[in-house]
Symmetry: C2
Subunit: 337 residues, 2 copies
DNA sequence: GTGAAAGCGCTAACAC
DNA sequence: GTGTTAGCGCTTTCAC
């Protein structure tokens, strides 16, 4: 299966009876060729099925037509396909489809700071980094290299950085809390993850503000993302011991599923005694009994926005950023009273 | 945001006080350098944080550390993110995770035959092509270029080609039919898609054989994949008109959801009068009432197998192929009698 | 053992 | 208007 090389610019030049420069210029709309030559060269190239080699072209630092995607939350998890968690797959799917629609390819790249670094990594035109955390080394690396990037979720601790898009986490959090309040909840516990990303931080922030406004004591629990369903189940014990709240708001779907299972196992009636809701819809949330009310992210709009911004950056244009998209709230049995 | 170039081989050579060649050889275990020089050069390179530029390297046709993924079924659909269809997302997620685990990056590439072809497309080390159909032009293109590739699903009409992996479709089909028979079905209709890929063809083949063995008249319906749920609903009318079978086996999840909805709307009781089952689990299947029994593909094992084969091909080793993985059958309400 | 030098395919100064 | 030429960063002969 020897790799045959494709038709090169040289072949086209020879065939068209011109220099390689002429070909390069004709095909890239550069230089000052006569319309006739240009047209002729184009015809020949087309007819020969010529396609410029991206590598050689990239060597001269022209765009590659491909952007990278780094999933920081999965890097952190150390597992790129956690069972039942479909937010990332959905995001990858959406981002890929949006990229393809814009004529860009999407390359999935692992943690850029841990060797071996994928060879092409620093040759891509730009990057989407999802859920960067405080002082994210991947972001630092891109910054260092001067590679354009956008982030899915505001990079925490960097108020000056605007090239991000995400669902409006603050609005989402308020939506959920209002829903719980409307269903009669007075005391709400928040279960967040431990990654210091905007997702965790902004929900927490809104939650604390909400508690303060109402004069209720915040009940904040931190559970590592990787603790999964089991972690949630275990946490249910603590919730009971600390005194049952009217509702539990778990940011991750697996925690919510675990917490609900743990509560039910301890005889707590959901939603009658305590409601459960999650900030991130997942198979687990949908398949729990009762089904768990959830925020459904908006990967399509978010990845479209991110690619818009990224394309502007790559082209050196000012970008319309940040951009907020809207998550949908899906009320289900776990909060239906 | 000027792109800063990284440290080049030249920098390392100068710093180590050797030639460029020496650096190249030391870092690639080529040539005949003394152990001492080799070690010294390596130390300097490491200390400088040198990383070879993949582009320049690729120009000389060495591996890029990246493989492409082409989703033929989505190319055909013309939509890279059809709502509720998660098999592809799951496959992408699984393939990405398996690739990353092997130190490879995964690049999602659209139809390689429709311009504009993504620039890097022909520079990748190899390809995974999902669900190629008869005389697939993408496959032809890769073949032409001598680029190693594997297919998810046997390429139909090419018995000599072995570099593929997939769930064992024939076994899956038998599993489903046996399940239906066990639940009392005598007459079963098969609803397949129109893409001439192995998935459609092999299920059909087993189905026809099964009918023949039992002396029952086959009832075969073809429905374009893109007809979606609505197509299924419409088909339900035909099923009723043609005389209700005891069970309907729809290969795609959306067709199954539509068929069941259409049947129920016409007063047919599922599963009592007619059972419904699908060959491809999806959100639609799970969320239908009753939930639809389904085959759940095995993207994790399948993509792992594909990457094993692909890595062998790239390395020029003989590959252990084809490889069959096992789908799981999920019995649900739609076949529970 | 080591290094000079010739490309890989392309782009962009700069001559002509 | 058009072509010559010098690289981009790297690998790989092939002299020394």
């Amino acid at each position: 299966m020897a790799r045959t090389r494709g038709i090169t610019i040289k072949d086209v030049a020879r065939r068209a009876g011109v220099s390689i420069t002429a070909v390069s210029h004709a095909l890239n709309d550069k230089g000052t060729l006569s319309a006739a030559t240009r047209e002729h060269i184009r015809a020949v190239a087309e007819q020969m099925g010529y396609e410029a080699d991206a590598l050689a072209r990239g060597l001269r630092r022209s765009p590659m037509g491909a952007v990278g995607l780094v999933l920081r939350s999965l890097d952190a998890l150390g597992d790129y396909a956690p069972a039942g968690v479909d937010v990332f797959e959905r995001f990858v799917g959406a981002a890929a489809s949006q990229a393809l629609a814009r004529g860009l390819s999407l390359m999935l790249v692992p943690d850029l700071t841990r060797p071996p670094v994928p060879p092409l990594a620093f040759s891509l035109d730009g990057y989407i980094v999802t859920n960067p955390h405080v002082d994210d080394p991947v972001v630092a690396r891109l910054e260092e290299r001067g590679i354009p990037y956008v982030t899915y979720g505001r990079p925490p601790g960097r108020p000056e950085f605007t090239h991000w898009a995400s669902e409006d986490d603050r609005a989402s959090a308020r939506l959920v809390l209002a829903h719980l309040e409307g269903a009669g909840a007075r005391s709400v516990a928040l279960v967040r993850g431990t990654d210091p990303n905007a997702w965790n931080l902004e929900h927490q922030d809104v939650y604390l503000g909400w508690c303060e406004e109402r004069g209720s004591t915040p009940r904040l629990y931190e559970l590592p993302e990787r603790a999964g369903v089991e972690g949630g189940t275990a946490l249910a014990g603590r919730l009971v011991d600390d005194g049952l709240p009217d509702a539990v708001f778990c940011l991750t779907g697996r925690h919510a599923a675990g917490v609900q299972r743990g509560l039910v196992a301890r005889g707590v009636r959901v939603p009658e005694r305590t409601m459960v809701v999650t900030g991130s819809d997942s198979e687990h949330a949908r398949n729990s009994r009762p089904a768990i009310s959830a925020l459904e992210l908006n990967p399509v709009d978010s990845s479209a926005a991110l690619l818009d911004i990224l394309q502007s950056l790559i082209a050196g244009r000012p970008a319309d950023a940040p951009r907020l998209t809207r998550a949908r709230f899906r009320p289900r049995g776990s909060t239906r009273r």
